[in-house]
């Protein structure tokens, strides 16, 4: 909020630091300093200081009096609560009794915490005095007339919104008998506000009304029909406190946010009703020459007593990391008008009624800390011990996969979670194109690969992230996925298998880097997909298309086997043999390998496919088999015998040995 430097300064007998210095020092000890704004308009010269008052201090500091208290605390100086503009006295008229002119009925006390009305007669509505015009001009408010301006002044000064009704515009005024009720609006009840906009209300909203109609949207904005103008002679002063939830909901529904609603939404301390009514009454007498009744009609003349908070010296020092004694702590608390009681180590502290943010010891410790000055805190490393942090298998797996793919030439992308089309919708989308949660990673990945063809002929990308596949039995399904792609401009048929194998190879290497080596690939039945990826229980955990993959990460993590099964390498020589065979073109290598595997003895160390080629409508597979024994040197005859077995099995299948 922007604060007028001149207005603040009026509360101090000694000059304040310059606006910049004041901004900064309050910024370091209370509210973030956002900047200054110079005002030089119509002969008014002032500086506005912008401090960011957050929700915890909005009850007390969104007002000049509140900010003045804060400045006094930070500068360790004294301030006057009265700015000195109003010279009127507290002598009000005993002859005029407010209750002779109006009655007040509050329908719902939990929404209307307190309502006060007071009558002023002989009101001379006119131009505002110069000081008032200048203050309002400084903060960018228009001067309307002296009465309306005063209500504005009182709100800014105390933080309590107030209102002045033209009494004679209210129903029953001709008989000096107005019945004011503060009630729920009726559904579809309408009201035109001060600025001429019509609003349709509902029965959740509170209004101040007379016997005929709604006069004011409580806590939000006054109505047009009862405002003070140049003809007004009698004024009903109104200062009320409303439940903050109710005002918030009303303001939201009507899309009507005012300086008043902002304050009520943040809870105005109930004691401010009296404070503001006093200031308002004195000001009306002083500035508009009115006679104000000594009587206030009050629906809830409550005296608030705040509970004292127990604070201990040791806890204060323990939380802050300081070494303050009781005297020092008490002195800081006194600066924010908190009084400490008896007790050397522990004592009860009373808090000012409007500091709604001070509720427990931690709040008081913050007061002490910020006034002491956080810059004085030492930087101390903690000395207690800790258990060795555990690395989660998921985290380790993600690191393993990512590092391997990077080495294989892949770039990691992070795509957006909120997309146009997914399996789960958001109730409040960002816009038409971003309103659903992604259910697949590869869709955006493919788009990215396409775009990156501008930079590379073969952009290799991967992503590890979360998707949402739907809602099952009321539970949202959130999963980790892992996807990769080898971008291509155009995949020619003759290159399809090569690209597929490159993508498959990258996936297999990434899996093996995380300790997973038994995923299986089978031909997919889904259109557009080449393979389904199965876990070690035969369950599908993902898919591959020609140049990429997407699979569920958590099942993979469950398959991690990084155990070591050490066996001393044999000292005996190895023998290797190649087996090459022609097969029909649609034969898959797994079927041939499975046949051969059945014939392989225990001395087999390696069995790999090392070549595939197609020629004249025939396909050839070539395998290398390596034998080695732990106990003896194997002979050529032995190896040939094994191969003979293999050849006969293959020949039985009508495969042609090369």
């Amino acid at each position: 909020m922007h604060y007028s430097y001149n207005w603040l300064a009026k509360h101090f007998d000694t000059p304040l630091p310059s606006p910049q210095e004041l901004g900064e020092v309050v910024g370091l000890h209370a509210f973030e300093f956002e900047g200054l704004e110079e005002v030089d308009k119509d002969g008014v010269k002032d500086t506005l200081i912008d401090w960011d008052v957050l929700p915890n201090r909005s009850s007390d500091a969104l007002s000049y009096r509140g900010m003045v208290h804060e400045i006094a605390a930070v500068l360790d100086t004294t301030a006057r609560e009265q700015a000195g503009f109003i010279v009127g006295s507290d002598a009000f008229s005993e002859e005029i009794q407010t209750s002779n002119f109006l009655s007040l009925n509050v329908e719902n006390e939990s929404s209307v915490l307190r309502a006060t009305k007071r009558l002023a007669i002989d009101v001379k509505v006119g131009e505002s005095p110069q000081w008032l015009k200048e203050l309002l001009l400084s903060i960018g408010q228009k001067s309307i007339n002296n009465v309306v301006d005063i209500t504005n002044y009182v709100m800014w000064e105390t933080g309590q919104p107030v209102h002045a009704f033209d009494y004679d515009k209210l129903a029953g005024a001709e008989n000096d008998s107005v019945e004011v009720s503060i009630r729920y609006a009726k559904n579809d009840e309408k009201i035109t506000d001060l600025t001429g906009t019509e609003h349709e209300l509902d029965d959740s909203m509170i209004v101040i009304a007379d016997t005929e109609k709604a006069l004011d949207i409580a806590g939000v904005k006054g109505g047009m029909g009862s405002g003070v103008d140049e003809n007004t002679k009698r004024v009903m002063l109104s200062v009320c406190n409303f439940n903050y939830v109710s005002v918030r909901k009303t303001a939201r529904k009507l899309k009507l946010h005012t300086d008043a609603s902002k304050r009520f939404e943040n809870e105005v301390p109930i004691g401010k009703v009296e404070e503001a009514m006093q200031l308002l009454s004195r000001a009306i007498q002083d500035v508009a020459g009115a006679q104000v009744s000594a009587e206030i009609v009050d629906s809830n003349p409550v005296v608030i007593t705040r509970e004292k908070i127990t604070l201990s010296v040791s806890t204060t020092n323990s939380i802050l990391g300081t070494d303050l004694n009781k005297e020092e702590i008490v002195a800081y608390l006194a600066r924010v008008r908190c009084d400490a009681g008896e007790g050397d180590t522990e004592f009860a502290v009373s808090v000012p009624p409007e500091r709604l943010d001070l509720n427990f010891a931690g709040d008081l410790i913050e007061e002490v800390g910020r006034l002491y000055g956080y810059e004085k805190l030492e930087s101390v490393m903690p000395t207690d011990g800790f258990d060795l942090p555990v690395v989660s298998p998921l985290n380790a797996a993600i690191r393993g996969i990512s590092d391997t793919l990077v080495t294989l030439g892949f770039y990691e992308v992070k795509n957006r979670s909120i997309v146009e089309k997914g399996a789960v919708k958001l109730s409040n989308p960002l816009n038409k194109k971003r309103g659903e949660l992604r259910d697949y990673l590869h869709i955006q990945l493919m788009e990215r690969a396409e775009k990156n063809l501008a930079y590379s002929d073969k952009p290799k990308l991967f992503e590890i992230g979360k998707v949402w596949t739907g809602i099952e039995d009321g539970e949202l399904q959130e999963l980790w996925r892992f996807t990769g792609i080898i971008g291509q401009r155009k995949i020619k048929d003759k290159n399809k298998e090569a690209i597929f194998l490159e993508a498959k190879g990258a996936l297999e290497q990434a899996c093996s880097a995380m300790g997973v080596s038994d995923i299986n690939f089978v031909v997919s039945e889904h259109e557009g997909l080449e393979a389904d990826i199965l876990n070690n229980e035969g369950k599908a955990i993902g898919h591959m298309w020609v140049n990429g993959w997407e699979l569920d990460l958590e099942p993979l993590v469950e398959m991690i086997d990084d155990s070591v099964d050490y066996k001393r390498p044999s000292k005996y020589p190895r023998i290797d043999r190649d087996v090459a065979v022609f097969v029909p073109v649609d034969t898959i290598v797994d079927s041939v390998m499975n046949l051969i595997k059945k014939e392989l003895p225990k001395e087999t160390q390696e069995f790999e496919l090392f070549d595939v080629f197609e020629k004249d409508e025939k396909k050839s597979f070539a395998f290398r088999i390596v034998f080695q024994s732990d106990t003896e040197t194997l002979s050529d005859e032995w190896a040939n015998g094994v191969l003979d077995n293999i050849y006969s099995i293959l020949t039985k299948e009508d495969y042609e040995i090369r």
């Binding site: 000890h29 973030e32 929700p55 201090r57 903050y244 918030r248 323990s318 939380i319 802050l320 990391g321 931690g362 410790i365 800390g369 910020r370 956080y374 810059e375 805190l377 930087s379 101390v380 490393m381 903690p382 207690d384 800790f386 258990d387 060795l388 942090p389 555990v390 690395v391 990512s402 793919l405 990077v406 080495t407 294989l408 030439g409 770039y411 990691e412 992308v413 992070k414 795509n415 979670s417 909120i418 789960v424 958001l426 109730s427 409040n428 960002l430 971003r434 949660l437 990215r448 775009k451 990156n452 930079y455 590379s456 290799k460 979360k466 949402w468 809602i471 009321g474 949202l476 959130e478």
Partner: protein
């Protein structure tokens, strides 16, 4: 003798690159692991309790407005998490103090998108709870972290009073401006990063509110601690001069390969 041209570029197997957010999270994890912090992970869609109530942000409270939240349709009271604090609550419920936890991850805010705001971004929250963990310890830990991350022993930090519902005292943390280091430029031009103040706001923190400890099953009379939240894109933008947050999510190789 065959001639070898030793000035020819070496034959390289072309490497890709990790995303800078991944690299930064790893860096943060590694720094904090050395200080004994364990990394915790949790769901990106949280229930209201874990995202708000357990963090001392009651319903209808204006503090809920401080974060604009995405709500999920079709399930009751589920939101896209606005911070990773829910992870901390879960960790507190599962462990006994003393504990040191960090929770990096993706978070979401329903705000208009521009050069410094995106609907999703990344945060790393930290929590340290023990018998007498203090604000001075928070200063110590954060200062260590910032000096190592920015690789600069002269980096300073500054605490200012702040407000977050889950901590009390609440503290805003500024770090020495990475660009001008708080010094006036030779040509007297005001630093555009820190606007001449010499400080940049870098993270929020404070002493964990007793209600938050209790919601995590920790006896607030016996234990106390601090919590902090770091915006990861923000850190990266300050360290490397990235100026548009949307670039992190556009998936362009010329961006990814630079880090």
């Amino acid at each position: 003798m065959t001639f070898i041209d030793v000035t020819r570029p070496g034959t390289q197997l072309k490497r890709g690159n990790l995303h800078i957010i991944t690299k930064t999270i790893r860096e943060i994890e590694d720094i904090f692991t050395r200080m004994g912090f364990e990394t915790a992970e949790g769901p990106e869609v949280e229930d209201e309790f874990h995202n708000f109530d357990a963090l001392n942000v009651p319903a209808d409270h204006p503090a809920r407005d401080m974060q604009d939240t995405f709500w999920v349709s079709g399930v009751e009271e589920m939101v896209l998490r606005t911070h990773t604090s829910g992870v901390q609550n879960r960790a507190m419920s599962e462990k006994t103090p003393p504990m040191r936890i960090i929770a990096p991850g993706r978070v979401f805010r329903n705000e208009s998108i521009d050069a410094t705001h995106e609907a999703q971004f990344h945060q790393c929250e930290g929590l340290m709870v023990g018998e007498d963990i203090s604000l001075a310890n928070l200063k110590g830990v954060l200062l260590q972290f910032l000096r190592v991350y920015f690789d600069d022993d002269t980096v300073q930090l500054r605490f200012r009073p702040g407000y977050f519902p889950f901590v009390e005292p609440g503290v805003e943390v500024d770090v020495t401006c990475t660009k001008c280091k708080g010094m006036v430029a030779a040509d007297d031009v005001t630093c555009n990063v820190c606007k001449g103040s010499g400080w940049i706001e870098i993270l929020g923190s404070g002493m964990v509110h007793p209600n938050v400890l209790e919601a995590g099953g920790i006896d607030s009379k016996k234990y106390q601690g601090f919590a902090f939240g770091i915006g990861i894109e923000r850190l990266i933008m300050l360290k490397h001069g990235v100026d548009d947050i949307r670039d992190f999510y556009d998936g362009e190789i010329p961006f990814i390969q630079q880090f």
